[in-house]
Assembly symmetry: C2
């Protein structure tokens, strides 16, 4: 292992502080933190990836403009309002950057902005101004966890992560926070996630590393097949760890990508496990595929199937639905060679071999499927490519949460 | 109007009789009809389209082989078992054809076979033999409705349809039955649907007409995004109406396609309205698209969005989710020109213009959305292509039905 997970979050790397407060962005919210600031005491190399949805929050346009020089020093994020599909969205996003710049004493051009919440309601700027003002001088190492809370919407748990790795003989730290529970079907970005590191990495290599690490982590998560309008994953690198700056794809770069991928995967699993209404984390591991894209298609198709997701909610070993989802995935696969097993902390059970059912104990399968984390192992025998995708079960609560989200 | 809907079903056209009985294909089923026979007293021109899922029921392979000469005279269908992913599936499907051939006095090569139900359980042939035997000499015009019942699984209502049209001065009748409630995301076929007509149509023109009519009807339905392994839509034409046989794409052909499209659309709406757990039929009508494929992508994307479907269950005018689904549909669209309205028997309300929200009465929107059939009208202003797709809301009952389908 070239990396090690540690306690902490977005403020774990050297140079970073953060805070989160209740700004009442939604007037009815009087207690939940809904505005976050993340700050670095030095200008960072920075990169970000965004949603591929054509309908995009204006915050993304502003953040893209501010990252055009590959530099950033602070992040401002609100929950409770997505600032999407609003006529004055761009202007409001710029105002948020100016507010953060004033409170933190940085250049507004070096502020990243993001919003999450209801689409199509005008963003009130006064609560944000007041909330940011309340954080003046209050950002700290301890405040990172308040920032993690402030970006939550229907999330039920905070998502934080920190890890260390050795680069050029120096200990480098990576930290991050994320939110996301519904409208999750990530395509080249994620819901909102902010990752910090004190690694010294050139802007170009940071962007490369981000894109590589995202593929096998965030981009393999789906809660409900809906790609959000606001997905943003940004990374800031302060360089304070003192490692020799990564400027090419050397061993240090590869270690950094490997660690980053593991870090992102951990967050990806947290997002899936906390999917709206979810009672189970589902991991579909596909092996023996002809090509990587085939493995990716199959694992995502299984994890996205409403019928499979509902069966897992009911702890029903209905492997026919796995086969069905493999069949319509669009992957090149010989269905006569497919095998399916279910696995959890209670053990493993094979239910399908060579594309057909085999006798198995329903009782034993139930015992395995009643656990909170289920692996669906799909073997194809067509080659040696593999992939894994992350999702969750489809439950009554998903319907409840989304049947009346706005009120 | 060149066609007219009438009462009746699959036996409405001249020459056709049918029946359905309880054969206990699932041993626990002691009362519900689960085996159907459809018969024509003359050999028919016949055509069929099937699921695009790579995992296919062996019944489809057998039906394809039997239709290779473009002729058929009878149909045998069971519910309660999909005969899919079984090592002996092909053999069992052939046995079903032989059983029907014996009971009806036709050539087994002229029998179409289909199955629907649980995937991956061996099909018991004895109940089918006994059930078919019980129907010997009992097929009738009245039996069509029993056949419609026999092919149901989680459906809550029978789907039957009949219409007449004038072709070459003769009255031609079209009739049909269908089933389908879950695992519905139709791609070039449908769940199970059997359509009969006494029109005289050449085999080649019948196949052409079927393919044309399917595009704007069955292929625009989605209940849950899962394309079934057993989708089959077959049409049999007895020629008994005495119209001049359609052998080229003349006016009669176009009238036939127009009528068939309307007939299929009616069935498509019935499938969507009776989607598993559904309380509402959702119709997404897109107009002003640059191209037809763009309109199709958008209407399907909206109808498939879990978030939109859940919002409709809650009668929540959450148009942001419509915009979101348009954005990730993959269609070429200028989001700054999008307009969205909701419409039902209680009236119409516009909620979004030029890609941004407009003030509207939530109370009035609620009143409109509490109805059982909701139209979502999407205007694009990019061109003049249009499309409509059919779906249903996502409800607690969908989760309940699919949380424990097998037991």
């Amino acid at each position: 292992m070239k990396y090690k997970f540690i306690d902490g979050g977005v403020t774990a790397p050297q140079g970073f502080t953060a805070q989160g407060v209740c700004a009442s962005v939604k007037p009815s919210n009087k207690t939940k933190r809904d505005l976050a600031l993340i700050y670095c005491d030095t200008l960072c190399n920075a990169a970000a990836v965004f949603t591929k949805n054509l309908v995009k929050s204006d915050t993304i346009a502003v953040t893209k403009a501010h990252l055009s020089d590959g530099k950033a020093q602070a992040v401002i994020v609100n929950s409770g309002n997505a600032n999407t599909c609003n006529a004055d969205g761009y202007e409001k996003a710029e105002q948020m950057c100016s507010i953060a710049a004033d409170v933190l004493g940085v250049d507004a051009e070096n502020v990243i902005v993001a919003s999450t919440g209801v689409i199509g309601e005008v963003l009130p700027i006064e609560p944000i101004k007041r909330g940011a003002e309340a954080m003046r001088g209050k950002l700290s190492k301890d405040g990172g966890t308040n920032a993690a809370e402030a970006i939550m919407t229907t999330d039920t748990v905070k998502k934080e992560m920190a890890m260390t790795m050795e680069l050029g003989g120096k200990t480098v730290t990576v930290g991050g926070i994320a939110k996301g529970s519904g409208m999750i079907h990530i395509n080249m970005g994620t819901m909102l996630s902010f990752v910090t590191t004190d690694a010294a990495v050139s802007g170009e290599m940071l962007e490369e590393a981000l894109r590589e690490a995202v593929e096998d982590s965030y981009n393999m998560v789906s809660v409900d097949g809906d790609t959000s309008t606001n997905d943003t994953l940004a990374i800031l690198a302060s360089g304070k760890a003192g490692n020799p700056e990564i400027t090419e794809k050397n061993d240090d770069y590869r270690t950094f990508v490997e660690g980053l991928t593991a870090a992102f995967r951990m967050i990806a699993k947290k997002l899936a496990a906390d999917g709206e209404g979810a009672t189970k984390l589902l991991v579909c591991k596909v092996s023996g595929a002809k090509t990587k894209p085939d493995a990716v298609k199959i694992s995502k198709s299984v994890i996205c199937s409403s019928l499979f997701k509902a069966a897992m909610f009911g702890a029903d070993a209905n492997w026919g639905r796995v086969l069905c989802a493999i069949g319509y995935s669009g992957a090149d696969v010989d269905v006569k060679k497919v095998g399916v097993s279910f696995k959890s902390s209670k053990g493993e059970i094979t239910v399908c071999e060579n594309g057909a059912g085999i006798p198995f104990s329903e009782e034993r399968a139930k015992e395995i499927l009643l656990e909170g984390e289920i692996e669906v192992l799909v073997t194809l025998g067509d080659g040696d490519a593999c992939a894994e995708a992350y999702g969750c079960d489809l439950t009554y609560d998903y319907v409840k949460i989304n049947g009346d989200y706005r009120t």
